[in-house]
């Protein structure tokens, strides 16, 4: 379980003064839940996600994971217990697929045999036959394959939490639909707590248990897809839904 309590994050840049990216945010993500953070550009959704693995630290407020304050933990240990997936995979181009996935096992000091077994298992899980893909380099993969490898890499140490930063944003619509289906199946198979940042409402409706819609650093509505459709909390939410779902409201 991840709890944000009164989190504020300000950025100060010379010449631009102080910008409040996240304002007094309180949010609880239950264990095993998939929460989508969505909203217009600059709404603070990515900042909120990066606060969890301390890529960004709060100006004020506390975040706890399973009851423990993350600011009191070693950031390296914290991050190894939290999988991280970024747009287009963020794979290291000089390493093979297998080494990309097994990198954290390697730095954790696993025996090579154990690492290899784990890598093969993960490749099977994301539907990439190890015999065909383990030795390839990221440059030899399609966009969808890279994204699958990125997910497999995030799962390497079997973390309880996965953070995903617009993971399907750079894919063509057909591949994206296919990966959405795989994601839903995978989620059922691995049972992780997932925070997923997206700007695509259809994706949010399809993949998440709950959605938090943000605007100017604050959550304007949080709830299930059904809640959003039945009871938009404000004209802003209504407008946002209409513009993203084309007014049909039939996605998910």
């Amino acid at each position: 379980m991840i709890c944000f309590k009164n989190i504020t994050r300000e950025f100060t840049t010379p010449g631009h003064g102080t910008v409040v990216a996240v304002r007094n945010l309180t949010l609880t993500v239950a264990a095993g839940e998939t929460l989508c953070l969505i909203g217009p550009s600059g709404c603070g959704k990515t900042t909120t996600m990066k606060l969890v693995n301390r890529l960004i630290e709060p100006t004020s407020g506390t975040i706890t994971v399973d009851g423990r304050d993350i600011l009191e933990q070693d950031p390296i240990e914290l991050r190894r217990r939290i999988g991280y997936v970024i747009q287009s995979g963020g794979l290291f181009p000089h390493m093979t697929v297998a080494r990309n996935i097994g990198l954290l096992c390697e730095v954790e000091g696993w025996e090579p045999d154990r690492t290899k077994r784990r890598v093969d298992e993960l490749l099977e899980l994301v539907n990439l036959p190890p015999s065909e893909f383990a030795a390839r380099r990221p440059g030899e993969l399609s966009g969808g394959q890279r994204q699958r490898v990125g997910v497999a890499r995030a799962l390497a140490l079997d973390p309880a939490i996965i953070l995903m930063d617009e993971p399907f944003g750079a894919l063509d619509p057909i591949t994206r639909d296919q990966l959405h289906d795989e994601f839903v199946a995978l989620k059922a198979a691995v049972r992780k707590t997932i925070i997923l940042v997206t700007h695509d409402m259809r994706e949010a409706f399809k993949l998440s248990d709950r959605i938090a819609l943000m605007d100017r650093g604050e959550i304007v509505q949080i709830g299930s897809a059904a809640d959003f459709r039945a009871r938009p909390a404000s004209p802003f939410v209504e407008t946002f839904l209409r513009s993203h779902l084309g007014g049909t409201g039939d996605a998910g």
Binding site: K50, N53, L55, I76, E77, L78, R79, R80, I82, G83, Y84, I86, Q87, S88, G90, L91, F92, P93, H94, L103, L104, V107, R137, G139, R153, A154, L163
Partner: protein, 510 residues
């Protein structure tokens, strides 16, 4: 961190230690010379004399690149003696500006001042003065009845002079001369000194400047005009020796003074002529001279002849590779960590790259000269390696910095976000991704170093510059090529091999 620093120092020591030499060992006299034929020949004469007549071992460090380098080497004790000119001591070392035509006064002054200021002794002069002079074709001079510079005055309107650019512009050259004699030559032009001899024999000019002991004069029918007003400063040649060396070896002073006044202008001219125009080796010409003067016996001369030049090529190539390799390895050890540091402290990047850039703009020869007076450096391989090392720094530092800086920030965020430590991120992500760029920097540095290392011969560090330097002095093109071609080949091979390595690194990342 500390352990790593020790490792660097140890490595540097290991690389430099074999290059160290000990010219001031008790039984060794180190003789230097400047790069010109005359200086080398005089040095060789003294070397053979000492070898034949004393039990001392002689180390030859000939061809030092100019007065400053030779003199600094002497002051630092890198060499024990070298041939110098009184006029040079007067103007260059002692900084006197007024012209004094009395050779005795100049000699007395420089020898007293050198002793007082530098603890360096002027031996007695060899007997010639290598000064500027004006020369005319013998036939023309006879027709006009000219033997002295003053005799030119009645004919000055119709004379054509072709003089070297330096002579044309130096205060103690043509302008001063014209003023002292009230000379107004009708047509004066600056021409390359090497061409002036052809110009005068072809009758295109009537008057040229020359050095009074120039070997080329002996082959031509030229008349040197007497400097009847004593305008040109005297350039009497003599050995200058560290006084401590003379005290340590009391037999040395009297022996060197046996050469006093043995060589007049005509004799020096003909000795230079034999080396430059007849292609006689320094060793043979020096030995013949000493035998003719009965300063050594033929038997002793044979024994004193240094080993032949066979195997020189292998030595030059190996020295060249060793100099370059040591410098580039040191540069890699220093520059890559520096480049990495700059990516962590970006505010330092501007100043550090700026300093490295400024070092690169220092002319190579000047950088070599700066090294000599530094404690622990001096003449030879250490200074050469240090200078090459300084040149090699910039491309490697810059490419390390740029290579790491240009790694995709998304990848760095992925690396940090997944839980890599700073050093894991550096070793597993940043350095591998920057490796091709870093390799390109190492390649640039290596090729530059191979080129600049040809100048190492100027400070007695050997390498392929040795035949180039000697060949240039002797106008011996095949000797020049025997150094230049292997140096170019080395550069091409290194460029090719490192280029292959660089491309291998790049295919690894695709």
């Amino acid at each position: 961190m500390r352990a790593r620093r020790y490792a660097i120092v140890l490595l540097a020591t290991a690389l430099l230690a074999p290059a160290t030499s000990f010219p001031n060992e008790n039984d060794t006299i180190s003789i230097g010379s400047k790069a010109d034929t005359e200086s080398r020949l005089l040095a060789e004469i003294m070397a053979q004399l000492i070898e034949a007549r004393t039990g001392l071992r002689v180390e030859r460090r000939f061809g030092l690149g100019g007065t400053k380098i030779a003199f600094e080497s002497l002051r630092q004790g890198e060499i024990d003696l070298y041939p110098e000119y009184t006029g040079t001591g007067w103007i260059v070392q002692l900084g006197r500006t007024e012209t004094v035509s009395d050779p005795l006064r100049v000699y007395a002054y420089v020898s007293a001042e050198f002793q007082r200021r530098y603890d360096i002794t002027w031996m007695q002069p060899f007997g010639f003065s290598n000064s500027y002079a004006l020369a005319m074709e013998e036939r023309v001079a006879a027709d006009l009845g000219v033997t002295r510079i003053s005799d030119l005055l009645p004919h000055q309107e119709q004379l054509r002079a072709g003089v070297s650019h330096e002579f044309l512009n130096r205060g103690d050259g043509f302008p001063g001369l014209a003023e002292a004699y009230g000379l107004r030559i009708g047509d004066v032009r600056g021409i390359e000194h090497g061409l002036s001899y052809q110009a005068i024999t072809a009758g295109q000019v009537d008057l040229i400047d020359a050095y009074t002991t120039d070997g080329k004069l002996a082959g031509l029918n030229l008349r040197l005009l007497e400097d009847d007003l004593g305008f040109f400063p005297p350039y009497d040649a003599a050995a200058i020796v560290r006084t401590t060396t003379l005290e340590a070896h009391p037999e040395l002073g009297p022996l060197l003074d046996e050469l006093a006044f043995r060589i007049d202008n005509a004799r020096m001219q003909s000795l230079n002529f034999r080396v430059e125009e007849r292609g006689g080796g320094f060793v043979d010409v020096a030995r013949d001279f000493l035998e003719e003067e009965q300063l050594i016996s033929a038997v002793a001369a044979q024994a004193a002849t240094p080993p032949s030049r066979s195997g020189d090529m292998a030595r030059w190539v190996l020295q060249h590779i060793a100099l370059t390799l040591a410098a580039v390895l040191l540069a890699v050890v220093v520059a890559i960590p520096t480049g990495i540091l700059l990516t962590r402290r970006r505010a330092l990047a501007g100043p550090v790259l700026g300093v490295a850039g400024v070092i690169q703009t220092i002319p190579s020869l000047a950088l070599l000269a700066f090294m000599i007076p530094l404690p622990g450096f001096g003449l030879g391989a250490r200074s050469a390696i240090a200078a090459l090392f300084l040149y090699a720094l910039l491309p490697i530092v810059r490419n390390t910095y740029t290579g790491i800086k240009e790694v995709d920030p998304d990848l760095l965020e992925a690396a940090t976000g997944m839980g890599l430590t700073d050093s894991q991120r550096l070793w597993k992500v940043e350095l591998p991704l920057a490796s091709r760029t870093i390799m390109a920097g190492i390649r640039t540095s290596t090729v530059i170093s191979i080129g600049v290392a040809t100048l190492a011969a100027f400070i007695g560090a050997g390498g392929l510059g040795e035949p180039i330097l000697t060949g240039l002095q002797l106008n011996n093109m095949s000797l020049v090529l025997s150094g230049a071609v292997p140096a170019a080949l080395l550069a091409i091979v290194a460029d090719f091999a490192l280029g292959r390595l660089e491309r291998r690194l790049s295919t690894d990342r695709s």
